[in-house]
């Protein structure tokens, strides 16, 4: 029997890390955005593997299908083809920044991984939450948070429209 899960996991992980590196290393911002879309899609595949189908679908429709599209559209309107200098500072500072990132990786991953490896596996439960659990949780335990997030989105809607509107205001009514 082929070991399917580890194989897919490592393939998706490798592709995800590569495309994430693409986001921060590509000189053209449009390519960065496309790498971000690839990362989101691969992450959705990972969620699918973790049997979180609903989250995977929302990941694709909201992130890959809307947020990154928003980025791409804004970049297209700016029409920045290539930047002269993508990275800030001189190389010594940049190497220091890379060092900081690696250090923070060690700080994040090592203790958690170590604790989990040593932890009593008794709390692990082999029961994937289904959409019904999700709905009961979302509209039961977390209903108030849900409402607050809804209010937040309304505020964001008003705020972003106000910010994005041109200052003239004469043809602003036409636009929206």
């Amino acid at each position: 029997m082929l070991e399917l899960f580890p194989l897919t996991f490592y393939a998706i992980s490798a592709a995800m890390i590569l495309s994430a590196l693409g986001v921060i290393l590509m000189a053209s911002p449009i390519f960065s955005a496309l790498c971000l879309a690839a990362t989101m899609t691969l992450l959705a595949a990972m969620f699918f593997m973790l049997e979180a189908y609903f989250v995977a679908a929302i990941q694709l429709t909201v992130y890959a299908g809307a947020v990154v599209v928003l980025f791409v559209i804004v970049l297209m309107i700016f029409d920045l083809k290539k930047e002269k200098q993508s990275f800030s500072g001189n190389w010594a500072i940049n190497i220091a920044k890379i060092g900081i990132s690696v250090a923070s990786f060690l700080i994040l991953a090592v203790p958690l991984g170590y604790v989990l490896a040593r932890a009593n596996p008794g709390w692990l439960q082999d029961r994937a939450p289904v959409s019904k659990d999700l709905a009961l949780s979302l509209f039961g335990k977390y209903l108030f948070t849900f409402e607050i997030v809804g209010a937040l989105l309304l505020v964001v809607l008003i705020g972003s429209v106000t910010l994005a509107k041109s200052k003239g205001g004469t043809h602003a009514e036409h636009h929206e």
Binding site: P29, V55, L70, I100, S104, L108, A109, A128, L138, A164
Partner: protein, 106 residues
């Protein structure tokens, strides 16, 4: 049906998510373009989402996935507001470099 829990330990997901988070952090640190910095922040949020979903699967509790929904809503809100601000700055200074944001007052 093979089971993901028997073949992959939870540590793997934590290490992967940590790597993604640090790549995102590096992006915020080294890039000059504000739009790319915003994308790196999205990357960091996604890394956190991965940990939430992995724990929710291994712990058998839907709460983790619910939090992921909230994170996504916040991330979408942040992207919309962030891009609107960047648009305003671009209109004023014709550029999207982080240095231009120094000139914002009041």
């Amino acid at each position: 049906m093979p089971n993901i829990m028997n073949s992959i330990a939870l540590n793997h997901f934590i290490i992967l998510a940590s790597i993604l988070f640090c790549i995102g952090m590096l992006g915020v640190l080294i890039r000059k373009n504000v739009v790319v910095m915003l994308m790196s922040i999205e990357l960091m949020l996604n890394a956190v989402n991965l940990i939430f979903v992995a724990f929710s699967r291994y712990y058998g509790d839907a709460s983790g996935q619910v939090i992921v929904f909230f994170v996504m809503a916040i991330a979408a809100a942040e992207a919309a507001i962030g891009l609107a601000i960047i648009m305003a700055v671009f209109r004023k200074f014709r550029g999207v470099e982080i240095k231009l944001f120094e000139n914002l007052k009041g």
